[in-house]
Each structure stands twice: as C-alpha cells, then as structure tokens.
C-alpha cells in the first residue's frame, strides 16, 4: 500500500493534471505557437539584415538565443503559465478545491505538491519548446543563423528552468487570487507590461528595478549578458517564486476554502 502524506499529495496532483483535457490541449497548442513565433522572429532578423536602409543590423545570431527561439518564450510562456494557473484556479472555479483540501488538508503541502508537479512537467516541456523553436527558426535564418550544439543545449535547459520556476511562481499567485482571469491578467502585467514600461523609462533606477524582475532575470539567464551572473539570475527567480508561494500559503491558511 502506498503512503499518503507528501508522496500521496504529489501522486494525486499528478493524476489530476493528466486527467483533464485542458492540460493535453494546452501543451499540444504550445508547440505550434512556439514554432510560429520563432519563425516570425527569425524572419524579422532576416528582413533587418537585408534592409539596406537599416544601419543597426542584428547580423548573424544564435538560432536558439533570445533573438529567435529564446525570445519567443516571452509570448509562449503565457500558454504554459495559464496551464499552471489552472491547476488551482480551475479547482476554485469548479469547487473541486474543496475536495482537494479534504484529501490534503495542510495548505503548504497541497500547494507545494502542485508546484512540484508543475515544475516536473514544465521543465521538459520548456526544453522541448526551445528545441521546437530552434528547429523552426533555423531554415528561415539561413546564413544569418549560427547553430552551436553547446548553445542549443544551454538555451533549451535554461528555457526549461525558467518555465518550470515561473510555473511555480504563477501557482503562488493563483493561490492568492483564485480566479483564472485575475491570475492571468496579473501575470501578464507583471511579466510583460511592467518590465517593458520600466525598461523604456529614462531613469536608471527604473531600469535597475526592471533587471530585478523575473522576466529580465529569465532573459539574462538565457543570454548570459545581464548585469549579474547566471547564478544571480537564478536566485532572483527563486526569490520571486518563494515569495509568491509563501503568499499563496498564507492566503490559503487564512481564507475559507
């Protein structure tokens, strides 16, 4: 007989994730979306490089880097993060969170089981998506693309790490907000709108703050060109995720289910 507790909570979350169709659909959709985004970004680079009027040309870029496949993750991440959010908000929407909490009453154990399952699933998904993006960008880039096996492996692994950690982050946000729409909107504002707004500001302080946000940390993790080393980027992602999960557990403990 298998044990309950932590192992049981993990097993239950695993079973639940794969027994609803939205998981399969969402993951299946992320592949063509990734391929398409990388294709568009690769085409943009080719266009820029062949435009005689343009002074600042990107030149030859890494096929798997932030210019193409890596950059596509900025958009495709929302498909993955929506799936992660649904692991909780879907349960609030249907009332089944009350079943989940009857099975696994300790709030921290329930949320950490969900986060662990999300990390375990989204890491390989991120790796696969990065490879799909690379494969899709390569033929389009042609002579403007530089394909290096070491870079591809590095970029794919880092994309996996970024999506896995951010899935756990979103689960914390979802536990605080409970609604799918609110969670996805908040995530979009935080990962997309806010960093762009700050980065475009002329204040250095604002730009420094932008570098401390998870989206910038993710990009620096991938490109290795940030104002801090990759380990620091990883630490920034970890701190944001730990804070979100802590917030989620606190709300779960204090609010009625």
């Amino acid at each position: 007989m298998r044990s309950g507790g932590r192992t049981g909570a993990l097993a239950a979350e695993w079973t639940k994730l794969w027994s609803i169709r939205s998981t399969w659909w969402g993951l299946a959709c992320s592949v063509p979306v990734m391929a398409l985004m990388s294709l568009i970004m690769a085409q943009d680079i080719v266009t820029d490089n062949t435009d005689p009027a343009l002074a600042d040309r990107p030149g030859v870029v890494s096929v798997s880097g932030t210019g193409t496949a890596g950059g596509s993750v900025d958009m495709v991440q929302f498909v993955i993060l929506a799936l992660a959010a649904l692991m909780i908000t879907g349960e609030y929407a249907t009332g089944s969170i009350r079943a989940t909490l009857q099975w696994v009453p300790p709030r921290a154990r329930m949320l950490s089981a969900k986060a662990a399952v999300a990390v375990a699933v989204m890491f390989p998904v991120g790796v696969v998506l990065a490879l799909v993006g690379t494969a899709s960008a390569y033929p389009v880039l042609g002579k403007w693309g530089r394909l290096d096996a070491g870079d591809v492996v590095h970029d794919a692994l880092m994309t996996g790490v970024y999506l896995a950690v951010m899935s756990a982050f979103v689960l914390g946000v979802a536990a605080m907000l409970r609604s799918t729409a609110a969670t996805i909107t908040a995530t979009f504002l935080f990962l997309m709108v806010l960093p762009v707004t700050l980065a475009n500001s002329r204040s250095d302080l604002m730009k420094d703050i932008a570098d401390g946000l998870p989206s910038a940390a993710g990009r620096h993790l991938l490109a290795g060109d940030g104002p801090y080393p990759a380990a620091a980027a990883l630490a920034i992602l970890a701190v944001w995720t730990a804070a979100a999960l802590w917030g989620g557990v606190t709300v779960l403990r204090h609010r009625d289910a």
Partner: protein, 328 residues
C-alpha cells in the same frame, strides 16, 4: 451489507483518541464552542456537542441555520472564529491520512466536471495511500460501473451524489458525514441511502447526516441534533425530540366544553378551545381526560390522542429561528 474491507474492523476506531463515557459509548466528533462569524453575521454560535459512534445522528435546522458551515469547519475547509471541531480528538488538518478517518460528502458539486469519476476517485485514493482496488470496490458499491469512465460534467445530480458517497466510503473511515445526501436521488436511491446509513452505523461507525427532510430523518436517524441560527436547540434521541414537542395532545368534542376545560385546567392541563364544542388538551394523557369527563358527567362525543410527527416537533423547535422563512 458490508462496506468495509476485510481485516478492517471499524468498531475499533483506528485513531482511538475519541472520548468514551461511562456507558462505553465512543464519541468521535466533538465540537467545543464552535463559532463562525462573517462580519457581524454569526453563522454558528458557540456550538458544543458530541456525536456518538454506532448511531445515525441527524443534523437538522432551517436553511441558513449553520449546518453546512459546521460540517465545513469539521473537515477544516472553513476556519472557526472561535472554538474547535475535533475528529477522534484531533483537528482534521492534523490527521495524516484524513480520508481513512473521516469520509465526507459535503457537496456533490465538489468535483471537477472535466474529469472522469474513475480519475477523480483514483487521485483521491492516491492522495491518502488507499489501495487502487478499493476504487473499483466503491464504484461497485454505489452502482456507477457503467458511467465511471465518463466525465463528471455529464452526470445527473443523482449520479454525482452517488460519486460523492463513493468518495466518502473510499477510505473505509470510522466517521462519515453527509450533507443532504438524498438531494437529487430517485425514491430507489433514497431507500438505498437509508439502508447504507443504517448499515454503516450498525458496523459501529459514526454517521452524521444533515437533512431538511423530516420524514426521512424520522426513518433513518437514531439521534437528532437540531440547530437554529447557529445555536443548539436539541440534542436527543428521535423519540425524545418528538415527545418533547407540544404536538402530543388530546382532542375532545363535547357539548360541555367549558365545564370540562375548567376541570382539566384544575389538574394542570394546558387547554385550548379551537371551537365551541372542541378542546385541545396538553399535559394530560388521553385516558385521564376520559376519566375526568366521566367523573364530571360531561358527555363526550369524540376523544382521541393526537400524535405529533417529527415535522411538527421540529417546526416548533425551530419556529423562532427560521432565517429565510415565508411567515407561517
């Protein structure tokens, strides 16, 4: 009917920290001053009670009396504002494998509609380290074999109730709680649930079931807990609750109503005169009323005892505490 797995004897509570009294009864659900407030509205107000093992205890009260809130607090879904709810002497959240201690059907809707019943029960079993074989066992017990692979969203309310009951039985727990389990069930299903509750209690389990169907409770429950506006109104065996109601009365039709009324009042009876030639007498048994009338020489045209139903006793108990009444 046997609901347990072989080897498991539910009469021996596996988490024997419930209280036992001098009569050898065991209490596995204990509420102490349980209180829940939402803003300035008090849903459950200092509720203290114990639910005994081996019995079906009916949990009654008008809509909004706090039954569901109480049950949600017992399984730790809602946080009590004050007081505590213990199962086997422990808080639900502290139970290492709660489904093996408490099986609860609180709302048939607490299921993801996109998941099949089998996947739902399988995830549930895994969460508490329950054998996979037990899933098929409970599916058979509730008669859902034919639809178990279908998504729950396509189920009727009755089928969802059966799924909820299957979930409550899954961990083979010594304590079972059901919130309105016969909602949406056909007469056949109602009969089945009644037998199920009786059977579970006969096996020594604690069965705590809420309902607003008095006739159903009169048939199923051994004991009743009645609450109104979050307060305990009664906690007694079914027969006692009925007897306590003022519905037990004696009806007399007589031309000498005034005379007889005076004599009955003199011996301490409570007498009403709904019509000129009719009396309703409370507090004196029917044979004594007959004798008093005979001694007084009052002709009696009709004399009968009126037995109260649980429904009447209940209405009387909760009359003052109906939250969403239409006025009687």
């Amino acid at each position: 009917m046997a609901f347990g797995r072989c080897g498991a004897d539910p009469r021996v509570p596996r988490f024997g920290r419930g209280r036992s009294d001098e009569l050898g009864r065991t209490f596995l659900i204990t509420l102490r001053g349980l209180t829940k407030r939402y803003g300035d509205k008090t849903a459950v107000d200092g509720l203290s009670l114990e639910v005994a093992a081996g019995k079906v205890t009916g949990f009654l009260g008008p809509n909004g009396a706090g039954k569901s809130t109480t049950m949600r607090m017992i399984v730790g879904l809602d946080r009590p504002t004050a007081g505590e709810a213990l199962v086997g002497g422990r808080r639900y959240a502290g139970l290492p494998r709660p489904l093996r201690e408490v099986g609860a059907l609180l709302d048939a809707g607490f299921v993801h509609p996109g998941r099949s019943a089998r996947a739902h029960l399988l995830a549930m079993a895994r969460s508490n380290g329950i054998d996979r074989a037990r899933v098929d066992e409970v599916i058979g017990l509730v008669g859902l074999e034919a639809v178990v692979g279908k998504r729950v969203g396509s189920y009727s309310l009755g089928m969802r109730q059966r799924l909820g009951i299957a979930g409550a039985l899954l961990g083979d727990p010594p304590v079972l709680m059901f919130d309105e389990p016969v909602n949406g069930l056909d007469p056949d299903g109602v009969l089945w649930v009644r037998g199920l509750m009786r059977g579970l209690a006969a096996e020594g389990r604690t069965v705590f079931v809420s309902s607003h169907l008095m006739s159903e409770m009169q048939l199923t429950a051994d004991r009743l807990v009645v609450i109104g506006r979050g307060r305990l109104l009664a906690d007694a065996p079914v027969a006692e609750v009925i007897a306590r109601g003022s519905g037990n009365a004696v009806r007399v039709r007589t031309p000498g109503a005034a005379d007889l009324a005076a004599r009955l009042t003199a011996v301490g009876a409570e007498v009403h005169r709904p019509a000129d030639d009719e009396l309703e007498v409370k507090g004196v048994p029917v044979d004594r009323v007959g004798l008093i009338a005979y001694e007084a020489g009052v002709p009696v045209l009709e004399l009968r005892a009126v037995e109260a139903s649980l429904e009447e006793a209940y209405m009387e108990l909760t009359g003052a505490s109906v939250e969403y009444g239409v006025g009687r």
